[in-house]
């Protein structure tokens, strides 16, 4: 019977502690299985940090608290509870437990996937794009805010910045020579339209809206004229 229970939970070592993965069996069974495993191999678990991967199970606050207390009685600290359910995650956060384990969050290098790739699809970003952020999109990109140095934007279509452009931009990233880059204040660190990159280190700030586009085979930057 004990061995049966033992197979319900998987335990493996991580850099920061032990990861316990639960199966689909009921919480009561797995709970008991985990505790009995710990009791059996006391010396192994002594002082361990435990992360619990509950999968899709939903743990209630009292269940989590009970487990944490039972573990701490055995000198094992519950460090993280990872689960697919937002309820479980919230509960874990409420108890001050970690809800992720050393997996980098996808906060930078965002890739926005769109189902329908109509020609006129655009991504609208209503914020300042800061250093370290990279935004790629398969249509056009519109930013209502600044693009700071160290930020990168690449669009298969055009890039419109309603603000100051100071970062790196690449419009027509798959070769569309009709793509343009516009900004109210145009001073990117790096500028590329389709295949042609332009070194614009010495460009003076004009304080006027400008637009970059391909003429012939080269990128040119011109003041933006209404009505063109």
């Amino acid at each position: 019977m004990m061995n049966d229970l033992a197979s319900l939970v998987q335990i493996k070592g991580l850099r920061d502690g032990l990861l316990v993965s639960l199966s689909d069996a009921s919480w009561e069974d797995q709970h008991a299985a985990l505790l009995s495993q710990i009791d059996e191999k006391q010396s192994f678990f002594q002082g361990a940090r435990l992360a619990l991967d509950v999968g899709a199970q939903i743990l209630k606050v009292n269940e989590m608290v009970e487990l944490r207390d039972q573990l701490s009685e055995r000198n094992v600290s519950l460090w993280a509870v990872i689960g697919e359910s937002p309820t479980t995650e919230k509960t874990a956060q409420l108890l001050g437990l970690a809800t992720r384990i050393s997996k980098p969050r996808p906060e930078d290098g965002r890739r926005f996937e769109v189902q329908d790739l109509g020609e006129e699809t655009a991504l609208f970003l209503n914020k300042t794009i800061r250093s370290g952020a990279r935004i790629e999109f398969r249509g056009h990109i519109v930013v209502l805010g600044d693009v700071n140095p160290g930020a990168e934007i690449a669009a298969e279509g055009s890039i419109i910045i309603w603000g100051r452009l100071r970062g790196a931009v690449h419009a027509g990233s798959k070769g569309d020579e009709a793509a343009v880059v516009c900004a109210l204040d145009f001073a990117p660190i790096r500028l590329q339209v389709a295949a042609d990159a332009m070194n614009i280190q010495d460009k003076k700030e004009t304080g006027k809206p400008e637009m970059a586009f391909i003429r012939g085979e080269r990128v040119v930057i011109e003041p933006w004229q209404p009505g063109q």
Binding site: D16, A80, E107, R130, P149, G150
Partner: protein, 265 residues
């Protein structure tokens, strides 16, 4: 008492985070607040040195987290201010000894004990930084008026925005008004223009800050120091007072006169 937890961060190293923590802590404590400083730079601790408490360390933050001592036992009382405490970092461990949830739990334990908890974040944007910002109610980003420091500060502000830490404010440290005037240094306006976040203090460059750090007596204790005054003003703004920013031109006015006398102008 429910303490406000404030993390001091920067991205780039060497811009003066630790000095800023020590000085703001001293200024808040001098004003009668109960302050606990937490050194989040595990493995490279130095807040204890800057505060002059190095030789009093018995237990450190990792001892608390791993349960070898009680929180109280790791709180070192300051020499000058009885209501100022330091929880030192461990020198012989690394940043992975602590997790963000450990820091949150520690700070929640400190909240009823103090008015302010100040966390000194390590440089970088990795584990130590994540630990330091996890419990923060407020983050102060320190930068110097130089391009690389501002770039890193921008990155940090971006991460804080992604983490939805809403209350972020900027400290511009080591501003040299003479260099700014000669257009050899970014001005406070340039920095603010790029970062676009609330400004909470501008600290002028001042040799006294370095001397104070080496002696373990933060310059905020020196009533005559202009940098000290700047840190005291930041402390007041943290408490919610409206304090006008220092006129940093005054000092350069003196320099102008000296240079005129020397026939350089």
């Amino acid at each position: 008492m429910t303490a406000q937890v404030i993390t001091i961060s920067s991205g780039k190293g060497g811009v003066g985070k630790t000095t800023t923590v020590a000085n703001i802590a001293v200024a808040l404590a001098a004003d009668g607040a109960k302050v606990v400083c937490v050194d989040g730079d595990i493995g490279l601790r130095n807040l204890d040195v800057v505060m002059g408490l190095e030789n009093r360390i018995v237990y450190d933050i990792v001892d608390v987290i791993e349960g070898r001592c009680k929180l109280r036992q790791a709180m070192i009382r300051d020499k000058h201010f009885p209501e100022l405490y330091l929880i030192p970092a461990a020198q012989t461990r690394d940043k992975n000894s602590v997790s963000p949830s450990d820091m949150t739990r520690l700070c929640n334990e400190l909240r009823p004990e103090a008015d302010f908890v100040l966390i000194d974040s390590p440089a970088g944007i990795e584990r130590g930084f994540r630990n330091a910002i996890a419990p923060a109610d407020r983050v102060l980003v320190v930068t110097n008026p130089e391009v690389s420091a501002v770039r890193d500060a921008d990155r940090v502000v971006g991460i804080l925005e992604a983490e939805e830490k809403r209350s972020t404010a900027l400290i511009i440290n080591r501003l040299n008004p003479i260099l700014v005037k000669q257009h050899d240094m970014l001005s406070a306006e340039d920095v603010l223009d790029l970062l676009g976040i609330q400004l909470i203090g501008i600290v002028p460059e001042d040799e006294g800050v370095l001397v104070g750090s080496n002696r373990g007596v933060p310059v905020a204790q020196d009533a005559k120091s202009r940098a000290g005054q700047a840190f005291r003003n930041i402390a007041k703004r943290i408490r919610g007072d409206e304090v006008p920013f220092l006129d940093l031109e005054k000092q350069s006015g003196l320099w102008d006169r000296i240079q005129k006398m020397a026939g350089k102008k």
